[in-house]
């Protein structure tokens, strides 16, 4: 060698590019062996623990033919600015080859706060679409028949009442309503909405109310519950996603059963909203363990006799938390691996995170690449060909058993306290905080390597492209909102608000009354604020506004 560089230079260079085994535990923290064999599955019984795809306990997949009989739904998440802005983005996504539209709302709408809130107006339309009234929903979905087209709402508070109110206004048949939303309010409470915005008791009761109303009136509407994606992202290992999600699902099903709605009426409408994190094998094991836990719970604990209630459908969105800001194009690799794990894990719908997720809401280019990732996996890689392709692998089967066992252990602990109490007292949040703290410590000590973050940092980088949009639509949207508030039939609205207050005060299912108030052009902030008041909470969680209706008469 005639290289003039010093030995030290070369060594430093090699250290920088070499690939080493830096960790033998999974990303969630399960210690693994160098190899696995039949001795690691001493009690595994194929018929009992796996079953063929489409057979109980559905470990190997929900359907016998899996993607040969029905492909997953390729979803694309859209939402920013005013309804008219998001309307344009939906049209663009459909043109790009997206089959399913998933609408995300701005943080105000997600918290059931109006866009004209004096302390918070700056947030209107910033991280999703502003959607405070039925009239805004009509603009957003103009020309889309919600009894024909599946629109998925990546949102919880007030969105279902808004959609139902629009269907009623249009004179359509509610029993034919298609689409889905995520009615899991406890997840919000745990995910940063906090007790101020979503108190645990009111939140959980609202989840149960919403599902009761939907199962009775719009049986084709799908319910993304539990919304375990955000729970996982907030700070849970793979097994923790199953544990906390199952705790929420089970408490919800028990409460619905007490209202006369049995598991076989409710569970077929439910879908698990899941993430797909970076540890490929662990995620595949998680999806398999999850279906098994679900099936056994429904049959053995809830007495389900209907396969549709026992066969879990999974709606997956790849992990946003796992993507990093430095050298963001690396997130394309991360998201591709996560997307593949979700497909080998047998999910029913799939959104691939855009590579710019840690930077801003998706640019159009990033959204297109996320779609292409799924198309490459579907058409070139062969990810859809054969159901549960890793089933029977000693490693995957052993991991599936381990994730399941860890999940059932934590689930038992939460249920021993009682779910709502465990949330109210901060036990579940403490589990999440401890997990995040442990991970941050490992990153700080380089016991866990995150490429570009605590090792292999890019040298010099130009700032990544940020999504920007023209605020003109937002200004007219806010103007229209204010005008609407001035032009409503106040007598009718007050009557509906008073009726809502009385129902909510009696702790009865307030959904019908919320829908009536929305139809009278009440806004989400006014309608939910009235429910809050009736529950003994401040009308405005930020304690800036008072109810424009005063305290209604009982």
């Amino acid at each position: 060698m005639t290289d003039s560089r010093s030995a030290a230079d070369i060594k430093a260079h090699l250290e920088d590019v070499s690939v080493k085994l830096s960790r033998t535990a999974t990303w969630s923290g399960i210690e693994t062996q160098a190899s696995y064999g039949p001795n690691d599955l001493p009690d595994h019984d194929y018929a009992r623990d796996s079953g063929d795809p489409g057979e109980y306990p559905y470990t190997r997949g929900a359907y016998p033919q899996m993607y040969r009989s029905r492909m997953w739904t390729l979803r694309n998440i859209v939402g920013y600015g005013a309804p008219a802005d998001t309307r344009e983005a939906i049209a663009g996504a459909l043109k790009m080859g997206t089959a399913g539209i998933n609408v995300v709302l701005d943080t105000l709408s997600q918290e059931a706060i109006d866009p004209d809130h004096p302390a918070l107006s700056a947030d209107a339309g910033q991280e999703g679409c502003s959607l405070p009234t039925v009239r805004d929903l009509e603009v957003l979905l103009e020309g889309i028949d919600v009894t024909q087209t599946d629109v998925a709402w990546h949102s919880t508070m007030m969105v279902y009442p808004l959609v139902v109110a629009m269907v009623r206004k249009q004179g359509k048949d509610l029993s034919k309503l298609q689409g889905s939303h995520m009615p899991d309010h406890l997840q919000l409470r745990l995910g940063g909405w906090s007790e101020a915005i979503v108190p645990a008791e009111l939140g959980h009761r609202t989840t149960v109310d919403c599902i009761e109303y939907s199962v009775k009136h719009s049986p084709r509407w799908a319910l993304g519950c539990p919304q375990a994606y955000d729970l996982r992202e907030r700070g849970l290992p793979a097994s923790g996603e199953i544990a906390v999600g199952m705790a929420i699902a089970k408490q919800t099903l028990r409460d619905l059963a007490a209202r006369g709605l049995g598991v076989d009426r409710v569970a077929p409408s439910m879908a698990w909203v899941s993430g797909s994190d970076i540890d490929f094998f662990e995620e595949i094991a998680k999806f398999r363990a999850l279906r098994r836990v679900w099936a056994r719970t429904m049959r053995e604990q809830f007495g389900s006799q209907d396969a549709r209630a026992q066969r879990l459908r999974i709606a997956c969105h790849t992990s946003g938390r796992s993507l990093v800001y430095p050298q963001p194009l690396n997130n394309l690799s991360r998201a591709a691996v996560q997307t593949l794990a979700a497909l080998l894990g047998g999910v029913q719908s799939l959104e691939t995170c855009t590579y710019d997720e840690p930077i801003c809401i998706p640019t159009e280019e990033a959204r297109e690449l996320a779609t292409r990732t799924q198309q490459i996996l579907a058409h070139e890689v062969g990810a859809a060909r054969t159901a549960d392709p890793l089933g029977g692998s000693y490693y995957i089967e052993a991991l599936t058993h381990r994730v399941e066992a860890d999940a059932l252990e934590l689930l038992g602990k939460i249920e021993a306290i009682g779910l709502v109490k465990a949330v109210e007292e901060g036990t579940v949040e403490a589990i999440m905080d401890d997990y995040n703290y442990k991970i941050q410590g490992e990153l700080d000590r380089q016991e866990r390597i995150l490429v570009g973050v605590n090792k292999f940092q890019p040298k010099a980088e130009t700032p990544p492209k940020r999504f920007r949009f023209n605020q003109a639509h937002m200004e007219s949207h806010l103007q229209r909102f204010k005008e609407l508030k001035g032009s409503r039939d106040d007598v009718v609205l007050r009557e509906k608000i008073d009726a809502l207050y009385r129902v909510a005060h009696r702790r009865e299912n307030a959904h019908a009354a919320m829908i009536d108030a929305l139809l009278a052009d009440g806004s989400i902030g006014e309608v939910w604020g009235t429910v809050r008041l009736a529950t003994g909470l401040p009308y405005d969680p930020f304690r800036v506004l008072e109810s424009p209706f005063g305290t209604p008469r009982l």
């Binding site: 943080t107 105000l108 997600q110 918290e111 706060i113 302390a119 918070l120 700056a122 947030d123 910033q126 991280e127 919000l188 995910g191 940063g192 909405w193 906090s194 101020a196 915005i197 907030r234 700070g235 990093v324 800001y325 430095p326 840690p358 930077i359 801003c360 809401i361 999440m432 905080d433 995040n436 703290y437 941050q440 410590g441 700080d444 973050v453 940092q457 700032p463 940020r466 969680p541 930020f542 304690r543 800036v544």
Partner: protein, 143 residues
């Protein structure tokens, strides 16, 4: 460690931002280092935060943002701190803070900016620098 050299740090979030896992983890990591953290949590108004700052007599105020409106909220907070006569308290920002906004943030009075990739160590050094107080190392503080 005597009470006299304690760094009191108020941590919280403004507006509708819900992504609190970062600031919650930071609160714990700073407590490990002996910082006395007053954790306000999510969903504060600027007025509420200024009141808490006065009531708690904090040495530093730390905000975390994952939403794009951080320049607006930070400017609003600092104006209200000025009006209340407490703008001598240094403000630090963390979370999804873009480099191209740093100059503007500094011009409105932000003293510390800890965007993606920042370490706990950098934040601890900043706290010592702006308060002129030295933390004793390790976990022997206010854990």
């Amino acid at each position: 460690m005597s009470a006299g050299v304690t760094i009191r740090c108020l941590l919280g979030m403004l507006g509708t931002d819900v992504h609190s896992k970062g600031i919650r983890t930071l609160a714990q990591l700073l407590r490990d280092r002996g910082v006395e953290v007053i954790y306000l949590g999510e969903h504060n108004t600027a007025d509420g935060m200024v009141s808490a700052l006065i009531a708690e007599d904090a040495d530093v105020i730390g905000l975390s943002f994952s939403t794009s409106t951080y320049v607006h909220y930070t400017r609003d907070l600092i104006e209200r701190m000025k009006a209340a006569g407490v703008d001598d308290v240094p403000v630090m920002l963390g979370g999804l803070i873009h480099r191209e906004d740093e100059a503007e943030l500094r011009s409105i009075g932000v003293k510390g900016i800890f965007g993606p990739g920042s370490t706990t160590e950098q934040i601890v050094r900043f706290l010592e620098e702006v308060t002129g107080k030295r933390l004793s190392a390790g976990r022997d503080g206010f854990g």
